[in-house]
Subunit: 195 residues, 2 copies
DNA sequence: TGTACAAGTAATCAACCGATTACAACCTGA
DNA sequence: TCAGGTTGTAATCGGTTGATTACTTGTACA
């Protein structure tokens, strides 16, 4: 369950990373307001006081988690663009995205960033990140504005299906919808997402 | 700012409605965990104790708000299907949806329902609601599974754009993206959503 | 009229949370 | 070796929150 259980002392840089990994999971499960610094500390195997002191505040920690999540999407998309295996680029991007948000911590971090769009500290991070991704699929992957928009739309539906855990439902309509969403490869989708 | 400011005593049924209206706004602004029963009470013009006693708990109140939000989508979609003005049904549904989620309370209630997909009390409400909407656009509006899926995807992108408040941004790429999302009628979109 | 129930609140409680402080343990190098 | 910086924690504090209790006020109707 916990991300780190090693006991020995760690250099500050590594400790930061382990806290960020734990925070991504806990923020994902409970949301920004719902998560506590103590839950994050327990998941990271350290004291609550150390979590707060390392990042200054709970809000600063969440902003850093949000930036990391956007950064991982960027990196995955650039890799998918560079690794041309003959399939259309949108297809490669889609698969890269699904593999990424199969990590529930990242998925739910994204959703929480969206719903905090009017927060003065987190809103700008979300807007900049989303536009960065839009520019990336338009300019670097070469999609038209219309195709880029459709691609993002499919991604947002994937978010919703995974968040609601509609994969894993055996309702026939759910199966039909999820099959549409994952482009037909339901088995692979469920394996990735743990449905 | 507040939804109700009338002072006189109200029968329980009407008071329930006014609390639900206030709760939709406050839950939307702060999220489930972030909203307090006292903020809801203030918005409804009554005491915090009465809010809790009327619904039993904060969670029960949120579940009711969530059910109402799904119900409003259902109702709006049925109306859009029935009111055939010659435009394609998907177009009518899209406009009805935008008019609905221009209400930030409803929009953010939906997003919070999604991110609470693994909550034992709220998750089932979200799954049932989403599948109900899927069946509605497929069976009653007559869209193919593929078209229905695309329609829902566009809706989820609309959610994200509105939540992040990308309408209202003057970044040229944001304008381009939002124009795609709203089907070209940027002015009308911004008027509705207050960007 | 008066009483019984419905509408509504003030006051309070136990639990929780983020942050601060003060301190302990460990490591490095001069 | 011992001084100083780094890693880490225990204890605690002020503020907040959802919920409970005991109470007041209004009103329908027999």
């Amino acid at each position: 369950m916990s991300t780190m259980e090693t006991r020995p002392r760690l250099p500050a840089a590594e400790r930061r990373e382990s806290i960020l990994a734990a925070a991504s999971v806990v923020f994902g499960e409970r949301g920004y307001a719902g998560a506590t610094t103590d839950q994050i500390a327990t998941a990271a195997g350290i004291s609550q006081a150390y979590v707060v002191r390392t990042f200054g505040s709970k809000e600063a920690l969440f902003v850093e988690v949000a930036r990391r999540a956007v950064g991982r999407i960027e990196a995955a998309f650039r890799a998918a663009i560079a690794d041309d295996d003959g399939r259309p680029v949108a297809r490669r991007l889609g698969q890269a995205y699904i593999e990424l948000v199969a990590d529930r911590g990242i998925l739910l971090s994204l959703l929480h960033i969206f719903s905090l769009g009017s927060d003065p500290a987190i809103g700008p991070v979300g807007r900049d990140g989303f536009l960065t991704i839009y520019r990336l699929v338009r300019d670097e992957a070469g999609l038209s504005p219309e195709d880029a928009s459709h691609f993002l739309a499919e991604g947002m539906l994937i978010n919703t299906v995974l968040a609601l855990q509609l994969h894993g439902s055996d309702d026939p309509d759910a199966v039909e919808l999820v099959t549409q969403v994952c482009g037909g490869d339901l088995g692979h989708f469920r394996t990735l997402a743990g449905g």
